[in-house]
């Protein structure tokens, strides 16, 4: 019976090719636009560390004094003293203190011109905490942090550029004027979004050089930029003693009890500092968010992208209205034919099924072309100068979602018209013939 309905549907669609093409086109454009934007939203709101994101937390507090000016949320960074106090308290399972800067990097005794690269200053826990994959060597130890060891870990990209991808562990790199020994080389690592760095654009690359916080403060002294300051620094090259925020912290807390304890510890710290007159506000502006909550608070999916998704869905709804109207007119125009079929013994259900098959065929065609348009749309996004361009690809979930959306759309569009058509009273139609 289904094949017979399919045959009828194809005949009916062929009868008015232009109209069929227009209906398919409308659904295809609606689906293409919605799926392109939904894919982007889906990709942008992804979890950068599945499985681990729930135990990673981002502590924040407000170190401003004597007054805290015009903001209700703490800055995404801290001043040097607060960050170091919290880090060296070792109250979490793991803790990484982080800041980033740019540094002049070159190979000593090579003719190559120096490169200006991102330098991430952090502590030993950074690598195990964030599951950073190593190609050669490993991260440095807590001992290296304590002894301000002149060591570094470099990215796969930099290893390719400087050493042609060979094992460069043990080689020497000159960062500004200091020679550091390479102890590890990362595998290509591009967490999306770049969650650990509140400075960065959400989807930019990682830094190329990673060095211990303690030693890089000496190596790259004077090149650390503040996120913001509440007093103009006496010496802009000395961030350690300036009233500026430029360092931040990530902590790993393995159980809800530990999270509660750590939150209490943070509150206590802020209140103590307030009592001592170093902070203007205390625990009321302390935050301890887990990774995904922090990303949402930070606005991981750009507003424009969200707006585009809503616009595309609205577009799809209009296309749906259009399809419903046209299908309704189309089915009702065949009232005579339907009347004859009913009179010859077809049940209402049979008429309904027949009409729905026709709507489904339009939907599948629309879905196919919609998929083509989605690929085209994502290709266009990839060629836009936006930081998330490289992400714009269709994964299996979204590929299946495209067809599900297409068939749902067309069945939804076909439902009311098919219902109406199946209610045609045969007697009236036969009289009119």
């Amino acid at each position: 019976m289904f094949t017979y309905y399919l045959d009828l549907a194809l005949r009916s669609l062929k009868r008015n090719k232009v109209l069929t093409a227009l209906m398919v086109l409308a659904i295809a454009v609606g689906i293409g636009a919605s799926m392109t934007t939904l894919t982007i939203v889906h990709l942008l709101s992804g979890d950068p560390l599945p499985g681990r994101s729930s135990v990673l937390f981002f502590p924040q507090l407000d170190p401003e004094s004597p007054v805290s000016q015009g903001h209700t949320q703490p800055y995404p960074m801290m001043d040097y003293r607060s960050a170091v106090d919290l880090w060296s308290a070792h109250r979490a399972d793991r803790q990484a203190i982080i800041t980033s800067s740019s540094a002049k990097v070159r190979l000593p005794d090579s003719g190559q011109p120096p490169l200006m690269l991102g330098l991430l200053s952090t502590s030993a826990d950074f690598f195990p905490m964030f599951d950073v994959p190593f190609q050669y060597g490993s991260g440095w130890s807590a001992d290296d942090d304590a002894h301000r060891a002149r060591v570094a870990v470099i990215s796969a990209g930099l290893n390719q550029k400087l050493f042609g991808g060979a094992d460069s562990v043990g080689r020497i790199l000159r960062v500004r004027d200091t020679d550091v020994r390479i102890v590890g080389v990362l595998k290509p690592w591009r967490p999306t979004p770049l969650f650990y760095d509140p400075w960065s654009q959400n989807f930019s690359k990682t830094e190329d050089v990673f060095a211990p916080f303690t030693s890089s403060l000496e190596i790259n002294q004077g090149n650390f930029q503040p996120y913001t300051c509440w007093h103009v620094p006496k010496d802009p090259r000395d961030m350690v003693h300036a009233d500026c925020v430029w360092v931040w912290l990530w902590v790993e807390l393995g159980s809800p009890a530990k999270v509660r304890d750590y939150a209490r510890f943070l509150d206590h710290y802020a209140d103590t500092q307030k009592a001592a007159g170093r902070f203007a506000v205390g625990s009321e502006r302390v935050r301890l968010r887990d990774l995904m909550t922090w990303l949402t608070a930070r606005g991981q999916v750009p507003d424009d992208v969200r707006l585009q998704a809503w616009l595309a869905l609205a577009f799809l709804v209009i296309c749906l209205f259009n399809a419903v109207g046209l299908l309704l007119a189309k089915f009702l125009r065949r009232s005579g034919e339907i009347g004859v079929r009913r009179a010859l013994g077809a049940s209402r259900g049979a008429i309904f099924a027949q009409c729905l098959v026709e709507a489904g065929v339009i939907g599948l065609l629309g879905g196919f072309f919609g998929w083509v348009l989605t690929l085209l749309g994502l290709w266009l996004v990839r060629h836009q100068p936006v930081d998330y361009a490289h992400l714009a690809r269709l994964d299996t979930t979204m590929f299946l979602a495209t067809f599900a959306l297409a068939v749902c759309t067309s069945l939804l569009a076909g439902f009311i018209p098919a219902l109406r058509a199946s209610r045609v009273v045969p007697g009236w139609q036969l009289k009119a013939l």
């Binding site: 454009v29 015009g70 424009d304 577009f315 259009n322």
Partner: protein, 410 residues
């Protein structure tokens, strides 16, 4: 035109007619808001920076020798840059230029009392104090940027400082009006909590590097402080067509003067590129919004035409009968036009309400102002025109139905 037969005929097609009406309503609501957003974005991207945009280009240089004095280096570099044929003037700034995002801002109060008020309230809101963006630079900045002095004078050579705080400043008219409402700002002294800075000049417009907050985008000031860092931005002014050549020549001259430094080609651009980069997302969005709006109108026109087509086919016999009993072609044409007018009319009335509702929703989620009400009648007229255009072809076909059809069975 008698509307009653149309209404009673529409009552027979309630479902179809209401679907079309809803489609028109949604289209009207969305298109009104889309057009409004496009207008907002266009307004945003066409903001005036107050500088001679088409004649400026910038080169960033960093990393000099350990024992070199940055300021001596800058002076030597500027001399080399000015020697390039076609360069009319050149200055060095720390990093700030309008729209290049890196901003340094400082709190200033019109008086000591205002600062006390701010301390009391724990906020500068409403205290009279402002937080302007601060531009620095070597002598000649005002002329090189092409700023228009509306009062006062440019800095004198002995007012420039290498370290510490300058004693004078040039401020924008927007800042002058906000800080000294109803008074002349020229000659006033702004207080920053430690020192007084005297206003010696007022320029017409100078946008902030990061004008994110509405209302204070034009509040900036310049003071005579030479860049202190080794990393510095050289601003060159030349004829617009010379800019590409001058950038290349400038990079070569800088590298020749001290080969160990970094001149990143990525940070070497014309001001036009800086501006385009700042507004790149808005420009993409304008394109997308326009495409979406046109797409919606097209789909709706398609729906109207498609339905009208079917109705004409369905009613061919009725039309024949009407023609046979005396209706003219014009009557038939007007019948379909009036029917469309009614459906679209009902659609735009609902659409206007939806448009306002959608606007309120968008206002709550995004920073969008209220939709001006005059958008609604304009949108309604546009949709009426669209409806009439799309129904025209089917209606003409209906008008061409000969009366003899009435005598045939269809």
């Amino acid at each position: 035109m008698e509307f009653r037969p149309i209404l009673s005929s529409l009552r027979r097609h309630k479902l179809t007619a209401s679907l079309l009406m809803l489609q028109v309503a949604f289209t009207c609501a969305i298109v009104c808001n889309v057009v409004f957003m496009v207008a907002q974005r266009i307004q945003r991207v066409s903001v005036s920076t107050g500088i001679a945009e088409s004649e400026l280009s910038v080169i960033h240089s960093s990393g000099i020798g350990k024992d070199e004095s940055p300021q001596a280096r800058h002076a030597a570099d500027l001399a080399a840059l000015r020697a390039i044929p076609g360069v009319r003037s050149a200055v060095a700034v720390s990093y700030s230029l309008p729209l290049n995002r890196s901003e340094s801002s400082r709190g200033f109060c019109p008086s000591k009392e205002a600062l006390d008020r701010a301390m009391q309230r724990n906020s500068i809101e409403g205290s009279g104090c402002m937080q302007p963006a601060v531009y620095d630079g070597t002598p000649g900045l005002v002329d090189t940027l092409g700023l228009r002095l509306v009062a006062g004078r440019d800095f004198l050579p002995d007012e420039y400082v290498d370290k510490g705080k300058p004693a004078v400043a040039i401020i924008t008219q927007a800042l002058a009006k906000a800080m000294y409402p109803g008074r002349s700002a020229l000659g006033q002294s702004m207080y920053d909590g430690h020192d007084f800075i005297r206003v010696v000049g007022i320029v017409d417009t100078l946008l902030r590097p990061a004008p994110n907050q509405p209302g204070v985008a034009g509040q900036s000031m310049i003071w005579p402080q030479r860049p202190v860092d080794a990393g510095v931005l050289y601003v060159l002014r030349s004829a617009p067509q010379d800019r590409a050549r001058i950038l290349r020549a400038g990079r070569a001259a800088l590298l020749a003067a001290s080969p160990s430094r970094l001149v990143d080609p990525q940070r070497m651009k014309t001001y036009t590129q800086i501006r385009a980069r700042y507004f790149q997302r808005d420009i993409t969005m304008i394109g997308l919004l326009i495409a979406a709006g046109l797409g919606l109108l097209f789909v709706t026109a398609l729906g109207i035409a498609g339905l009208a087509n079917f109705w004409v086919q369905q009613r061919t016999r009725t039309i024949g009968i009407r023609r046979a009993i005396g209706a003219t072609r014009g009557d038939i044409l007007r019948y379909f036009q009036a029917e469309n007018f009614l459906i679209v009319g009902a659609g735009v009335v609902i659409g206007a309400v939806l448009a306002v509702a959608l606007n309120l929703l968008l206002m709550s989620r995004y920073e969008l102002p209220r939709l001006p009400l005059w958008y609604l009648p304009v949108g309604a007229l546009a949709l009426w025109a669209l409806g009439q255009l799309s129904v025209l072809a089917p209606a003409l076909r209906a008008a061409a139905v000969p009366p003899v059809v009435a005598t045939r069975s269809v």
